[in-house]
Symmetry: none
Subunit: 555 residues, 2 copies
Amino acid sequence: MSGMNEAAAGAPQGSDFLQLDIGSAPAGGKADWLAGRLRRAIADGRLTVGSRLPPTRVLAAELRVSRGVVTEAYRRLAEDGHVEGRRRGGTVVVAVPVVPGDGAGEAGRGMPRGDSPGADAVDAGRAVAAGAFPGPATADRVNGAGHSVAADPFPDADNPVGPGLFAGPGGVRTAAETLFTGEPGPGVFDALRAAPARFDFTPGRPDLAAFPRAAYLRAERAVLGELSADGLGYGDPRGAPALRRAVADWLARNRGVRVEPREVLIVSGTAQALTLLHTVLRADGIDAVALEDPGSLGSRQHLRNGGLATPPVPVDDDGIRVDALRATGARAVLLTPAHQFPTGVVTSGERRRALLRWAQDGGLILEDDYDAEHRYDRPPVPALRGLLADRVCYLGSVSKLLAPALRIGWLVPPPRHRDALIDAKRFADLGNAVLPQLVLARLMDSGGLERHLRLLRGRHRRRRDAMIDALAAHLPGAVVRGAAAGLHLTVTYAGDVPDTDLAAAALAHGVKCQPLSWHRLLPGRPGLVLGYAATPAGAIADGVALLGKALRSLS
Amino acid sequence: MSGMNEAAAGAPQGSDFLQLDIGSAPAGGKADWLAGRLRRAIADGRLTVGSRLPPTRVLAAELRVSRGVVTEAYRRLAEDGHVEGRRRGGTVVVAVPVVPGDGAGEAGRGMPRGDSPGADAVDAGRAVAAGAFPGPATADRVNGAGHSVAADPFPDADNPVGPGLFAGPGGVRTAAETLFTGEPGPGVFDALRAAPARFDFTPGRPDLAAFPRAAYLRAERAVLGELSADGLGYGDPRGAPALRRAVADWLARNRGVRVEPREVLIVSGTAQALTLLHTVLRADGIDAVALEDPGSLGSRQHLRNGGLATPPVPVDDDGIRVDALRATGARAVLLTPAHQFPTGVVTSGERRRALLRWAQDGGLILEDDYDAEHRYDRPPVPALRGLLADRVCYLGSVSKLLAPALRIGWLVPPPRHRDALIDAKRFADLGNAVLPQLVLARLMDSGGLERHLRLLRGRHRRRRDAMIDALAAHLPGAVVRGAAAGLHLTVTYAGDVPDTDLAAAALAHGVKCQPLSWHRLLPGRPGLVLGYAATPAGAIADGVALLGKALRSLS
């Protein structure tokens, strides 16, 4: 933060800078508040890439706060990757969360912009099927002892599995034998969750031990202290205005999607988003939603339950095969373009252009942006919704950002579906619970959620590396894919052991995971989908060793 | 706010008063901020009942704000019912939101248990149409000036009304003219909520100013302190086991319903319960659900949206007419037997027996037990579910016990529908959010919720009495019904002014209420449905005076 004099030249200054009114900062949270204001100014274009922030000393004097407050705020923005200290150049805005239409520089910083259909920057960030094993697993793991003994948080003596699993007898006592037999029913995820196991590699969960409990409680206290009595009544079925604003800001900062708060609909997670879409799509004459294959079993079950056909469309290393999509004749498709589930493929630039052409010809894209914010080795790709608002319905949630237990997500539908979706949400449950919405809005507005994500990224990356190492060491012929981002990877292995058999043997050895074939209708190699984010590195090594043992027992 | 010297005596003063730091107040929201701080201090015991607030002039000087800021903050607390201006006595704290463990007197403490099927208490508690007016309203209300200016808690600049209301233009600006015109659509309740008005007599809300914020936060802290990391993952779609146990205990203690926790399904309020039932009933071959008439417009809209026919069945002073129910041929009926909405009729013993016979002949009763715990002048009747488990699906929620904003309810279905409802809940949203469930379980298990209800009953009874008095004084020919329990009453009046016209005129005069005809398909006298629970007594008197004025303007 040296070079203040140079930096000051030309920089907006003083209390007029962004019309900052420190009087509106909460006591004890001035740095948070200031960082939030600056973040918003970057997101909405008042501070553009390349512009300099006022020197800390100058801004502190103008705001009549200690210089430490300003330094701390700048530090947080630097951690976000939004600004950079450039010695003599001062503190400079280097990355707009995603700015449609400009062409900022190099890879890794600032996101590849892809707002105009066909932006080439996308290819720079293309999926690399990470066959890359950094050599044999090192033997010096810390914490080799058994941890992460994931006791089921919802034990229920009488019926641990719930209905809808399999017609046959058995239940949880014989989960290892029955869970992976036959066509998986709607209760299969509950059954897997309830099955006892020492190591849980179920995909889709972030590191829940890192959940910011203290920050959550602080935010809840503030919300309860400020909410009016009327605010405890029936709320807006579209969601609390504060959260809809916070989500709109979040999407602008992190996902390259610029929307008004009124375009955002708060829902109870992506599952509810799909449920609401069932009726709205059918009313729009859409009776089929094409699915990526491999693709999420849960989504397939969901759409079918809603009376929609789900023709499978193959995914290759560039993403979904758009020619095959056209061939299905389906007018809608559910996609995970930022990090395809379960393969981890990032949709290439060429394929994105083809998809957008398909959509412009009348197709509707349901964009499930489920874990786009979790990236390690490459910049995130911006969401498709930012490119073609009229033909893309965007789905997001906090399940991978904070915790699935919160059950909060959001929909940004195309304008023509908005009112019908609001009606559907109103009939579904009159709107989400209000207090958790307001708590989340605070965590988003304060930058707390972005700080949490940065913390998670470091932890997740170490766990991912541990899993890649362990697979190389313990699973014969392991080929890992989709590890450049997200909370899980897929692995194929030598031999022809069916993956359901391997998953069953793994469960018998105390390891939970999902067979790749659950998520596939089209033929393909057997494999496993392994979540690594919620398990400490040492336990990952131990669990994968047991996986290897299970595979050898079958070969 | 005269008598400042007296008031100052013994009052905490100055900037040390509550350690108020005006620097943490948002710009332009100082009165709000101050009211919030004072409210919290009353809630957490720093300001006890009987203590005096500093004189406005003194506090204003200490905080260096205009006296108007302090006056406005005090006014808001007076509207809440937390403080009262006492001429020479200054401004005094008169009500604490919730005091655990106090033993305020009279009947209505310790609830009569009604757990034996067929308890005779039912007949004793028969509906009494409360024509009882305790004489002309007294004229010596304190604080006759305008209070309870209930600004909409969810203003939204672009679209305050939401879709689904009426096709025509207008929106909130012409709410008074358009809201009550034509067939009410699914957005009509949102529109009414968003309409600005000084007095809000919308039925269905308890006293939300009494919400036990401190106890809620304490419970949340305990939950966050104890929950395992896995507990933050995907949960049991049936609901958190702790809450299902707490609800089972609650139903046994308070509603005469003895069930196992595994029979309880946690949902997002009664609205979601109905949504889940749509598909399950249709799958069971049920295509019509008979409705009480008068009966809830919201329920009618809901069932119709779910593709179910809703034949109306008249309600008389004994409850629903079972002969007419048989004549519809419908195989299911939605009932509010404990306190019929909106008439307040309690189903008589003879009628309950007839209903149970109808159910034993193959009928299904959906029992919406929406406000059974709120009773004043008579013991509660036990729920029908306790008498005929196989033919009754029980629906309850915390919307009237604590706050609609929590969006938590429960279903106790007949055994044969249980698994299908669990599947429906899983598809709907994978289960309710976990933290609010665990907080509620603590409030139920600790007795905190029952203490809260005792507090509410006293407050609600005073407000009900104030409304009855005011109606007698101001509404020509007023006949009140359904005031022996609940959160609302119905009133008919002399003359033939259509109730939609009266409701529109009332809104134009600044008073929100619902026309009785909204809730009726069969012919009947015009009337209003008036909620009194959420409005302080003084404001009730003022609002009802305006209602009378509105009626006179039309006669």
